[in-house]
């Protein structure tokens, strides 16, 4: 899995903003739940398309990719440039892909990368998955939770299905919770019901991850969506008996929505590459409210 990424160029100082508004004590209390003191956010000139293009250019530059060999392009974003079409044909038009390229648009949040993996592993040929998010553009009024949690960025992931195997996949969907994290059509204000999301984590996400690990004892490491420091700390604490390695970066980077998991993987794999034959878990959860996970194996 080759990964290129691009982060928003505007640096938001969450810590100073919180201190100015609420004082040091409350600011630290908020950051102990959200995580990052600084967040990368899209500058006015940036959007989900420019970040997508930048991440692909980085992928090409770092890994010498032949775009003509790519058979499928899957764009994952909840912030498309246009209402329709989605970003996929816009991205495809920016580069010299094959004219027989299959293009897909996926409007999915924090499960988006895992959903795209599931789709790509069922397609013929090499897939390019682009996860690109600019949640900051949906938060006009400062909110001490959402404003200090979500970061903007994009990841381009090249996936050759002959190199990987999906051992098992899992999904959970919680009915009638679609408003818990949402932006209304034509609206520009992100709404998040933190307690409903946390309840989903406790009631559905955590038990399912425990179930997955119990059913797949060969899992050595798990890449879990970095929803917030609160959620990450909760999962880390309650999964500590499993001995599965849980990489994390929420305190340094924030929640990049669908781009979170590939960014986390890129950082971790740069230090500890995935070995041939290794089995690992990737799990995203959030908007929907939904949970999507794959147990993957790197082929020998």
């Amino acid at each position: 899995m080759k990964i290129g990424f691009a982060l928003g160029k505007r640096l938001f100082d969450a810590q100073s903003t919180l201190v100015d508004l609420y004082g040091s004590e409350t600011a630290m209390a908020v950051l102990s739940k959200t995580g990052p003191s600084f967040l990368c956010q899209a500058s006015p000139a940036e959007n989900s398309l420019t970040l997508s293009v930048e991440s692909i250019n980085r992928l090409i530059q770092d890994h010498e990719i032949d775009l003509k060999l790519i058979k499928n392009l899957i764009s994952v974003t909840e912030s498309p440039l246009l209402q329709f079409p989605g970003n996929a044909p816009l991205i495809a038009s920016t580069f010299d892909f094959s004219r027989t390229l299959s293009v897909f648009d996926l409007n999915a949040g924090c499960t988006g990368f895992v959903d795209a993996i599931k789709i790509a592993m069922g397609l013929e040929g090499i897939s390019l998955i682009i996860c690109s998010e600019t949640y900051s553009k949906h938060i006009r009024k400062f909110n001490r939770t959402t404003s200090c949690l979500f970061a903007d960025g994009a990841c381009a992931i090249l996936l050759d299905p002959t190199e990987w195997q999906v051992i098992r996949s899992y999904s959970i969907f919680r009915p009638s919770t679609f408003n818990s994290i949402s932006v209304s059509s034509g609206g520009d204000e992100l709404f998040m019901d933190g307690k409903e999301v946390y309840n989903f984590v406790l009631s559905d996400v955590l038990p399912t991850i425990n179930q997955i690990i119990a059913e797949n004892p060969s899992i050595e490491r798990a890449y879990l969506h970095q929803a917030s420091k609160l959620v990450t700390d909760t999962l880390t604490t309650k999964l500590n008996k499993t001995n599965v390695k849980l990489p994390t970066f929420i305190e340094r980077s924030g929640n990049f929505v669908s781009a979170t998991l590939p960014l986390l993987m890129a950082e971790d794999m740069a230090v500890t590459p995935i070995n041939s034959g290794e089995i690992f878990l990737i799990a995203g959860f959030g908007v929907g409210l939904s949970f999507s996970a794959c147990v993957l194996k790197k082929n020998e």
Partner: protein, 81 residues
Amino acid sequence: MKQIEFINVVASALGVDSSTVTMDLKIGDIREWDSLGHLTILTSLDAYTGEKASEISNFGSLDSLSALWSALVNAGLASNS
């Protein structure tokens, strides 16, 4: 957990004086008890009960002190006496 301890845990979680916390309080009643304040209450109660509180069904969606207290009592984690 006695009710006075429960009130102190909640007050500490919200960063307010315990005199501000009454058993009829619910989310949104005071500025400090917003979505983030609510999560702080939940994690504080979970830590105080040795991570037992989070095992209560739908614990995360209980958004009033009376509902939280009742759930803790029913789970054997708190006592009215």
